[in-house]
């Protein structure tokens, strides 16, 4: 088992934002990695920087973290295109970036599930051995996030 600790997470999150998620990272990541088919469990910030992680092996973790930033950026851009640039105008008339509810990537060597949390800008990242594991992972993730909403600063939208 490898990956960052809470201390690593605090170091990684240099934005100075209040971060209600961190006290719950470890337990939730352990639960996520225990889902059958899961190879990587991680929490990233909205920009795709991995704050804490667990993985079956180091190489898989590295491949996943390499992809997360690009995947989130691409998903956000695509969501904006699908919403025809509307993106939800803020109170001052400024457009806010739309947030994808869930991103699934099918890769040659497995699948990747990205689920933004509802009340923070953190994103749960779950690497899976096979695309056949996506349904099970989503189901498990929903239960785990519901049970950990307090620790993580909001559930996901799976």
């Amino acid at each position: 088992m490898s990956g960052g600790s809470l201390v690593d997470a605090e170091r990684a999150d240099r934005g100075g934002r209040p971060d209600p998620a961190q006290p719950g990272f470890d337990a939730v990541l352990d639960e996520l990695l225990a889902v059958r088919g899961a190879t990587v469990a991680a929490v990233a910030d909205g920009g795709g920087v991995v704050l804490a992680s667990r993985a079956a092996d180091e190489a898989t973790l590295r491949r996943t973290t390499d992809v997360v930033t690009s995947a989130l950026a691409a998903a956000t851009a695509l969501t904006g295109l699908l919403e025809d640039g509307a993106g939800g105008a803020g109170a001052g008339g400024q457009a806010t970036a739309p947030v994808p509810k869930q991103v699934m990537l099918n890769l040659d060597d497995g699948a990747l599930l990205l689920v933004p949390l509802t009340t923070s800008d953190h994103v749960i990242v779950l690497g899976l051995a096979s695309e056949a594991d996506i349904g099970r992972a989503r189901f498990a993730l929903k239960s785990i996030l519901a049970g950990s909403a307090g620790r993580l600063g909001g559930g996901g939208r799976v």
Binding site: A132, G135, R138, F139, S143
Partner: protein
Amino acid sequence: MTNLEDVLAGLWAQLPGCRVAAVVGMDGLLVERHPSVAVGTALGSAPGGDELEYLAADLTTAFTLVGGELSKQLGSRVDELVALGESGGYLARRVDANLFLFVVVGATADLGVVRRSVAGVCEQLAAEFA
């Protein structure tokens, strides 16, 4: 957390002639199945991984379709679908708004027992997920 695999294994074991039992999300994604692809292939009776995924997607479409005008005409939502052929059949039943359970059975299965068992498991799961 409910262990779906155990629940499905129990259902599969109590239904003679059951080829596979599975839980599927209403978006068409297979959540869990029993027996697993590897065991099912070894047994030679359960559908393979790809076949079951197509089946799950088709049943999701069927539930969506019958959730429209057919349900309106009935006056209540259609919660169960049964498809029978000479060599067996399919039975799918809603667990809740997001999930349904289905079984594929051979020609020797007793449909009454299958319906009762599946309904019982669906009620159990619905209570646990509520």
